[in-house]
Amino acid sequence: MGYLTIGCFASLTGSMNYDFLLRLSKAAQRKGHRVSIWFSGNGSSSIKKGQKILKDYSHGEKHLRELISNGVEICVCESCAYARGIMKEDVIEGAKWSAMHWFLSKIYEADRVLLIGGE
């Protein structure tokens, strides 16, 4: 099995890129691959807990919690989060809080690297 690391740079809840990230990560993890996700830029707001589930509306938190419980490593850029008024205590339990070196180490270690971005 392989290791896929994904950087999600500019995706907010409701973004198709973000939905794609969640589904691809789930499929790779289900097939036995190791997966890690790095959120920065606007993507850093995706890990804020307390997201309300509204009918017919995109929702991320439940999927992120499921990925974390299945062993997917999820980390948010602390600078990008602070810049958006998101504090460490706001983060979904199990998600990591670090700086760019975390993602660089994953890029170095992984077999495949995908950077998803653009809004």
Binding site: G2, L4, M16, N17, F20, R23, L24, K26, A27, A28, R30, K31, H33, D111, R112, V113, L114, L115, I116, G117, G118
Partner: protein
Amino acid sequence: MKVAVFVSEYRCNLNPLEYIPAEKLGFILVGNGVYHAVLKENYQDSPILQQKGDFYVLLEDLETRGCETDCINPKVKPVTYDDLVDLIFYEYEKLMWLQ
């Protein structure tokens, strides 16, 4: 080097491809990029499908847009998320997100 190019928009800039020294390109159409697989403009295939390479379209994103599989351009192979994972790990080495 084998490069998988993810295309997530219907309008996108192909210039970056000129700088990619790939021996093989695989275009993976996702999100609104799936429209490249089913629409024509002035009776012509999308500029993406006129590139040299293999073409894949994500079935889930196609079906959520109401497109039928029988209107997929014959150059393009429909794939699921599971197939996509296999392409990423076993068919291509580098991954690129085209905006």
